[in-house]
């Protein structure tokens, strides 16, 4: 942003000691990109295998913990709060991640090219998410005889919730499939072993004709727009059925939108984290540069500010309203029972990103955005616990719960519900399972989008202008 920032790649200009940062312009031949990316994507190191085994083990342990907890039945909400929080965490982070790729593709930013694929790959976590979601949805009582956003639609909320969640998981994976079609074709032509045969099955016909390219791009636009609508919609549904309408008297229109903003913020954060891991340990040093972190951290900063702003907009109304219901809600969610996770969420989701990322120098590095991304992910985790464990612990779904609240608010605040052993294993299992799937998928789908990176190389040219070299950026309509 500011032109006074120092950087190693820059040249002197007009003798005033001013430095100009030059974005990385890749200049290797296309074939080389294809070759190296495919090679890296198909090798599995020892550490990788160990990590895969660890996360797989965690997933199995979590599944056993779920079976143990399920012995006690699904009649009360409270014991399942942490499973819901874990699901919500996976949904807000990994399952929402493709939105990063979708939006950046829509605004045609160039720096996103090496990052988009890893965001899309995270959609495979939807498999774990859907598995966790099914028992949770079945716990919800029918919408017919209680207050909910469904107004007693037949089949609500179960059918719509499941359709929404499975829909978004499938859409995410569909985006992954379509966007990697050209790369799968490359695996089909240059790969070996099971990868080759699988890729041949998945992309039998892609030859790279102009029509096919047009088709891929149009498909990505359509799927992207659908994905965006689904994401906002599913965030809204989950936030209202698993939190808002369970808590008597909670009437809060911004909450679903805030939940969605949190999803966008975590999507950027998880993409940044994965991109950093790919750079550091994945062997893709050539394709990932500080550009990606610089660009994405601007968005992360903006979303962190929005996160706080949305929260404040809602809180302000309750704070000033001072109605007994509002006071009870503030005590439950922010001030008393769940103030620790809330304080953590504010620090990690707002204070840390804000204080670190306002500095251009910090944004224009790899390590600071990664630290902030970790902080946001951790903060989101605490925040989901705060929302869902708290909601599940006061859940009252009787038909007249909302009416009673006006006379007798739930004045006695429940103490915070702490996780038991089974809860800890379910948390670890859920997150472990998601990571396991993502790691596995990265060994088949190239985590660097070969065609988008090579396309980017076409649009960026270096040119001489007056006394120095500058970059010319193509702006196709």
């Amino acid at each position: 942003m500011s032109s006074t920032v120092h950087d190693a790649h820059t040249a002197h200009h007009e003798g005033e000691g001013e430095h100009h940062y030059q974005p990385q312009v890749l200049t290797m031949p296309h074939a080389e990109v294809t070759q190296t990316v495919l090679r890296v994507a198909s090798t599995m190191g020892r550490t990788y295998k160990l990590a895969l085994a660890l996360f797989g083990g965690l997933f199995i342990a979590g599944f056993i913990a779920f079976i143990v907890r399920a012995q006690d039945g699904f009649d009360t909400f409270t014991p399942w709060g942490y499973l819901m929080a874990t699901f919500a965490f996976i949904f807000t982070t990994a399952m929402s991640a493709p939105i990063f790729s979708v939006t950046q593709r829509m605004v045609r930013s160039h720096w996103r090219r090496p990052m988009g694929r890893s965001a899309e790959i995270m959609s495979v976590a939807g498999i774990v998410g859907a598995l966790m979601f099914i028992p949770l949805v079945l716990m919800l009582p029918n919408a017919a005889d209680r207050k909910s956003i469904w107004f007693g639609f037949p089949g609500a909320p179960h059918v719509y919730q499941l359709a929404g969640l499975i829909g978004i998981a499938l859409l995410g994976m569909a985006i992954l499939y379509v966007s990697s079609l050209p790369d799968l074709a490359a695996i089909r032509d240059h790969g070996k072993g099971w990868r080759k045969s699988l890729a041949t099955k998945l992309a039998p016909k892609f030859r790279g004709t102009p029509r096919q390219w047009k088709g891929v791009k149009a498909m990505l636009m359509v799927l992207g727009a659908l994905y965006f609508l689904f994401l906002i919609g599913v965030h809204t549904m989950i936030a209202s059925d698993f939190a808002l309408s369970l808590v008597p008297g909670w009437k809060d229109a911004i909450f679903p939108a805030w939940h969605a903003i949190s999803g966008l913020q975590s999507a950027v954060a998880s993409t940044i984290l994965v991109t950093f891991l790919l750079y550091k340990f994945g062997g893709y040093k050539d394709y990932i540069s500080v550009d990606q972190f610089w660009g994405a951290s601007k968005i992360m900063l903006a979303l962190s500010l929005l996160w706080m702003y949305f929260w404040l907009s809602g809180f302000m109304i309750f704070w000033y309203g001072r109605q007994p219901v509002e006071q009870a809600l503030i005590k439950l969610f922010f001030a008393e029972s769940y103030r620790f996770p809330w304080a953590m969420a504010v620090c990690l989701n707002f204070a840390v990103p804000f204080l670190l990322l306002i500095w251009n120098g910090a944004r224009k590095s790899m390590i600071v955005p990664t630290i902030v991304a970790c902080s946001i992910l951790l903060g989101t985790f605490f925040d989901r616990i705060r929302i869902y464990v708290a909601s599940f612990s006061v859940a009252d779904v009787r038909a007249d719960a909302l009416h009673n609240i006006h006379v007798e608010p739930f004045l006695e605040n429940p103490p915070p519900h702490l996780p038991g052993t089974a809860d800890v294993f379910m948390i670890l299992g859920g997150i472990g399972g998601a990571i396991f799937l993502i790691m596995l998928a990265m060994k088949f789908f190239p985590p660097i989008s070969i065609w988008e990176v090579t396309e980017g190389m076409l649009y960026r040219k270096k040119k001489r202008f007056l006394k120095r070299e500058i970059m010319v950026m193509g702006k196709p309509d």
Partner: protein
Amino acid sequence: MQDRVVLGHTPQEVDARINRELLTNVLYTERRYWIIVGFLALVVALAGGAVGYMVNKGIGVSGLHRPVFWGFMITNFVFWVGISHAGVMLSAILRLSQAEWRRPATRAAEIVTVFALMTAILFPIIHSGRPWRTMYWAFPYDFARGIFPNVRSPLVWDPTAITTYLTSSIMFVLVALIPDFAVARDRTKGVAKAIYSVLAMGWRGTPRQWRLQIVAGFLLSALILPVFVSVHSIVSWDFGIAQSVEGWHSTVFAPYFVIGAVHSGVSAVVTVMIILRWLFHWENYITKDTIDSLGRLLIVVATAWFFFFFIEILYSIYTLEDAELGLRKMQFFEAPYSWLFLTFILTGYFIPVPLWLFKNVRRSFKWMFITTILVNIGMWIERFLIIVPGLARKQGLTFSWSTYHPSVIEILLVIGSFAFVSMNILLISKVIPLIPIYDIKEGEILKDEIKIGKVTVPAAKREE
């Protein structure tokens, strides 16, 4: 796809032409200009008379009564604050994101911001019971009697936020104007030259001056953004924190108002730009590309706004409380509110947005003019529908329920505010170039193209 206007073949030629064409409005005046300004001045004078009458006789001359204590004037206040959100939205955000098409739109947007704010801030003052006391209380604070203003009141946050926003947007305009003032200084004589010399602050176009101006522009852009968001949030809290009005006490109000403001503001900028293009013959600068891009932006903004509108309704009625359901029933189904609601929802969203999806509409000045005007009709009614029905049906004590009809005075004030803003924009166009000359020149220099295979793709040089 993009049709770029070729302004000349050598840089000098381009420069000279830009200077000539964009300074037209400052240096020469057509007759129709004075006719329009004269007509607007007449309307403003009429509205001024209405204000005087109201101050003299009392608020009784309006249609307000218990319990509808706020009506047209506050609606109009919210509307103009909303319009003022266009300037920063376009200038700051697009500057920070380096969108090339922003160049011809920024100055007009900023000017709309400044005058819309100046108009908006008049309304809370004249609508108070004792405007002379309000002035005394607001500037300066009433320290003499040791009573500090009540900082818990949104009505103290309002002037604070709005004056901050007004000050910073004036600064924003002036910083961007310095190079253009210098151009005007070099082309005028006498008193005008002296004034421009002062305003240009010794601008000579040295690299250091340019760098400072760019840094200042970026800094102001970044700093003005939180102000921009806060202003309409605070305006929304005028309503939101009122727990006694069912339709106001909604948590979504702040972002809902902000995005709605951007929706109406950007639309207003499109309208203004199309009028100015016709009035000052700026066919070469305000091109189809410009309004096409603005149209696309509007689709996104409008849809986001519609989402907030939707969840505001959904989450207010989902608890099925009688008071809330009754209020919504009145808003949607009972005349005259039902007619207003229908007009609002059609003109605010369902007519313009589907039309904007068509490229031909986005690239047609006539259609964009019509649709953006429709949006602002809709958004004005939206504010009215937020403010008045909620007040008319307050709480369960049905004995006091009422309705509201504006008086002639209030209608005059609303019309007058539109004339006032338009007149001010036209008057200031005699003093400053309404399209940033230096910014257009910069865009001309940065224009480039690259060849990919057989295709030539328009491109832009990037400094960073």
